[in-house]
C-alpha cells in the first residue's frame, strides 16, 4: 500500500502545474492500477487541498471510474439510436446470452465484463462495439465471436 501511495503522490506531483487537475489525475491512477482504491481518496484530498467528500463525489459521478480492480476484457455494446436502428438490442441479447451475464456484469471467471455505452461515434457503421478501447463496426454475433477469438490468440 505505501508503495502504491507513493505512486499516487507521484501522479499528483506530475499534474502540479495543471489547472483543475482532479480528472487527469484520476485517469492516470486508473490507467496505472486499473481502478481507484477507496484508500487513496484521503491521499488525494490532502494533496489537492479539497475534502474527501469532494473527491468521492467526483469519482462516483463519472461512469468511467471503477472502484474495484478488474483484469477483464471490457466489451461495450452501443445501445444508442443509430445502433438500435440496425439491431443493437438484438446484439445486446446475443452478447448477454454468449457470456451468461447482463450488461454491467462480469463473467464469474472474471474474464469478460459487459457494459452498455451510448454512442461510440461509429453510427454510419452500426451496430458498434468497443473491446478494450478498440472500436468495431457492423457487428453481429458471428463477428463478435470471431473478434474475441482472435483477441484471445494474440
Amino acid at each position: 500500500m505505501s508503495e502504491d501511495a507513493e505512486t499516487v503522490r507521484a501522479i499528483v506531483a506530475a499534474h502540479r502545474g495543471d489547472r483543475g487537475p482532479l480528472l487527469p489525475i484520476l485517469h492516470d491512477i486508473q490507467d496505472t492500477f486499473g481502478y481507484i482504491d477507496q484508500e487513496w481518496i484521503p491521499v488525494l484530498a490532502t494533496e489537492l487541498n479539497v475534502s474527501r467528500a469532494d473527491v468521492h463525489g467526483v469519482i462516483t459521478f463519472y461512469t468511467d471510474f471503477r472502484s474495484e480492480p478488474s483484469q477483464a476484457t471490457t466489451v461495450r455494446v452501443c445501445r444508442a439510436e443509430a445502433c438500435q436502428s440496425l439491431g443493437a438490442e438484438r446484439l445486446v441479447a446475443d452478447t448477454e446470452q454468449m457470456f451468461g451475464v447482463k450488461l454491467g456484469q462480469t463473467t464469474p471467471d472474471g474474464s469478460v465484463r459487459l457494459e452498455q455505452v451510448f454512442c461510440l461515434g461509429n453510427c454510419a457503421l452500426a451496430p458498434a462495439v468497443q473491446i478494450n478501447g478498440r472500436m468495431y463496426g457492423r457487428m453481429d454475433r458471428a463477428r463478435l465471436v470471431e473478434v474475441l477469438a482472435k483477441g484471445a490468440e494474440s
Binding site: 487527469p24 467526483v58 461512469t63 444508442a80 436502428s85 453510427c123 454510419a124
Partner: protein, 512 residues
C-alpha cells in the same frame, strides 16, 4: 514509389483498415509509400484504398485484407480496373457534389504532416488573423454568419464579441469535443483526420478575444482522437504554431487536451466547464453566461469542434464569401452526418438548404435494410423524429423549428418501417433518466416516470388517461428543466406520438 492511402480513421479501422494496411505493406511494402489518411467520409466504402496516379487518386473499396494480393496482381498500383475499383475518388458524385470547407483536407492529407497541411491551405487563416486587430477578426466572424455547430446554433461572432468586450487578464478558449449524440461522428473524424485545423481555429479565437490558454474536452470514448490531438499539439509546438510566440507574432497560446469520463451531460457547456475544473459535471444556472463568467470564473469561449474548425477558412477567404452560401439565417456549410439504417452512410458537407430527401434518399441511397424509411431523428437524442411526409424540409435552423423539429448539428439517424416508435419514445426517457445530472426534479424524476407511463400506455392500461399524464409530464419537463437535457427530451417523445400514434396502441402492437 507509388503513394497509397489507407485511412487511420477509427471508423475505417473498425471494419478492418489496419489489417488492409498490413496486408498492403506485406505484399508491396518496397514499392509503395503508405499514407494513413483520415477517412473521405464515404463510410460504406471503408476500408477504402486510394492509389495516386496521373489521372488522380483511384479508389478501391470496400476492401477485405484477403483481397489485397488479388488487387495488386490485377494492377491496382497502376490504377487498373477491378470489380472493387471506384474510379477517380474526387469525381464520384458523393465527393464532387459537396462543398467541403470544414472538411476540405479530411481524407486527403496525412493528418499529422505539417507539409501536407500547409500545402493544402493550412495556416493561411491564422496568418491573416494575426496580421489584423482582434476586433477586425471578430467582425469577420460576425459577417460570416457562422452559427455554433454543436446544436444550439448561436452566432459565433456574437459570443466572441462578448468575450472580447469583457475585461480580464486571463481568458480561455474551450473546445467542446464531447460529441455524445447518437448520429454524430464528424467531430471525431475531424480531430482524427485534420487536427491542425482545430488547433488553428482555436489559435485564431485566442487572438481574437485575448485568450492565452485553451482546452479541448474530448470524450473518453474517443481514444484515437485523443492520441492524434496530443501528437498534433506536440508537433504544433515544435513548429512554433503554438506556445509563447505563435508564428513570430508575439501571441502566446497554450493548448491542452482533457479527457471526459463517461458522462453525456458534460457536453452541455457549463457542465463541461465544471468537469474541466475537476468537479462533478453539474449544470450551472445561466446567467452568468460562460462568455463572461466561464472556466474558473474567467471570460471563456465555448465552441464546438466544427465551429472552431470552420474558422480558418473564414479568415482565409473572408466572412462575406462564407455567408454567400446557405439560405435564410443558416449561412455557410453544414457537415451532415448520415447514420443508422442507411445504405450509404457518412459525412456530406454542403451549403444549408439541401432537403432531407436529397440527403437520405438521394446521396444516402435509402435504408441499408432495403425496406422503406419510416422516420429519421435529426439533431441527436434530443431531436424530433421526422416522418417521410416532411422530407421536403430544407435544412435550415428556422424551417426545422417551424416544423417542431431541430436541425441541431446535422446528424441524421434513419429508421426503417420495422421500427416501433413507442420504443424509441421510451428510450428517449430512459436515456434522460440515465444521463440526467440530477439537479432538477422534472428531469431526474420526470424521465423515470416517463418510462413507466409509456409502458402503461403500450400495455393498454388506461391509455387515454396515461396519455394525458405523459403530456403533462412532457410539459413539466419542458418548462421546469434548467438545461436542454430535461427540456428537450420531450421532443423525440412528442414527435413519435404525433406522427406515429398507432405505435402506442395495444392492437397495433399485438398485430406486429
Amino acid at each position: 514509389m507509388i503513394t497509397v492511402y489507407v485511412p487511420r480513421d477509427s471508423a475505417a479501422v473498425s471494419v478492418g483498415a489496419d489489417e488492409v494496411a498490413a496486408a498492403l505493406e506485406q505484399a508491396a511494402g518496397e514499392r509503395i509509400r503508405l499514407v494513413r489518411n483520415g477517412s473521405r467520409g464515404m463510410l460504406w466504402l471503408e476500408p477504402l484504398i486510394e492509389v495516386a496516379t496521373e489521372r488522380g487518386r483511384i479508389g478501391y473499396g470496400p476492401v477485405s485484407p484477403h483481397q489485397v494480393q488479388g488487387l495488386i496482381d490485377a494492377g491496382m498500383l497502376d490504377g487498373a480496373d477491378h470489380e472493387l475499383c471506384l474510379g477517380v475518388v474526387d469525381e464520384l458524385p458523393w465527393m464532387r457534389d459537396q462543398q467541403r470547407l470544414c472538411f476540405a483536407r479530411v481524407g486527403v492529407t496525412d493528418p499529422l504532416s505539417v507539409v501536407d497541411y500547409e500545402a493544402h491551405g493550412g495556416l493561411t487563416g491564422l496568418r491573416q488573423a494575426l496580421a489584423r486587430e482582434p476586433a477586425d477578426v471578430v467582425a469577420e466572424m460576425t459577417e460570416s454568419g457562422l452559427r455554433g455547430r454543436g446544436g444550439a446554433g448561436f452566432p459565433a461572432g456574437v459570443k466572441w464579441q462578448t468575450v472580447l468586450d469583457t475585461p480580464g487578464e486571463t481568458k480561455f478558449v474551450c473546445c467542446n469535443a464531447d460529441e455524445g449524440d447518437s448520429g454524430t461522428f464528424a467531430d471525431r473524424m475531424l480531430m482524427e483526420g485534420d487536427p491542425f485545423c482545430l488547433i488553428e481555429g482555436m489559435t485564431i479565437a485566442a487572438h481574437a478575444v485575448g485568450a492565452s490558454e485553451g482546452y479541448i474536452y474530448v470524450r473518453s470514448e474517443y481514444p484515437d482522437a485523443v492520441a492524434t490531438l496530443r501528437r498534433a499539439i506536440d508537433i504544433a509546438y515544435e513548429h512554433g504554431w503554438l506556445g509563447e510566440n505563435v508564428l513570430g507574432s508575439g501571441l502566446r497560446f497554450d493548448l491542452f487536451v482533457r479527457v471526459g469520463a463517461g458522462a453525456y451531460i458534460c457536453g452541455e457547456e457549463t457542465s463541461m466547464l465544471e468537469s474541466l475544473e475537476g468537479k462533478r459535471g453539474m449544470v450551472r444556472s445561466k446567467p452568468p453566461i460562460p462568455a463572461i463568467t466561464g472556466l474558473f470564473g474567467k471570460p471563456t469561449i465555448v465552441n464546438n469542434v466544427l465551429t472552431l474548425a470552420s474558422v480558418p477558412r473564414i479568415l482565409a477567404d473572408g466572412g462575406a464569401a462564407y455567408s454567400e452560401l446557405g439560405i435564410e439565417r443558416s449561412r455557410g456549410t453544414q457537415v451532415f452526418q448520415l447514420a443508422g439504417n442507411i445504405a450509404r452512410g457518412g459525412v456530406f458537407e454542403t451549403a444549408f438548404g439541401i432537403t432531407l430527401d436529397e440527403l437520405i434518399n438521394g446521396y444516402g441511397g435509402g435504408t441499408r435494410s432495403g425496406r422503406p424509411v419510416r422516420a429519421v431523428q435529426v439533431g441527436g437524442p434530443l431531436g424530433s423524429y421526422v416522418p417521410v411526409s416532411q422530407f421536403d424540409l430544407p435544412t435550415d435552423y428556422e424551417a426545422f423549428a417551424a416544423a417542431e423539429a431541430m436541425l441541431g448539428h446535422g446528424g441524421i439517424v434513419v429508421f426503417d418501417d420495422t421500427t416501433d416508435m413507442s420504443k424509441m419514445a421510451r428510450f428517449a426517457m430512459e436515456f434522460c433518466a440515465e444521463e440526467s445530472c440530477g439537479k432538477c426534479t422534472p428531469c431526474r424524476v420526470g424521465s423515470v416516470r416517463g418510462v413507466e407511463v409509456i409502458d402503461r400506455i403500450t400495455g393498454g392500461e388506461d391509455p387515454d388517461g396515461n396519455l394525458a399524464v405523459l403530456n403533462d409530464l412532457c410539459e413539466l419537463m419542458t418548462d421546469g428543466s434548467l438545461c436542454a437535457m430535461g427540456g428537450l427530451t420531450p421532443n423525440p417523445v412528442r414527435s413519435a406520438l404525433t406522427h406515429f400514434p398507432e405505435d402506442f396502441t395495444v392492437n397495433h402492437r399485438e398485430a406486429k
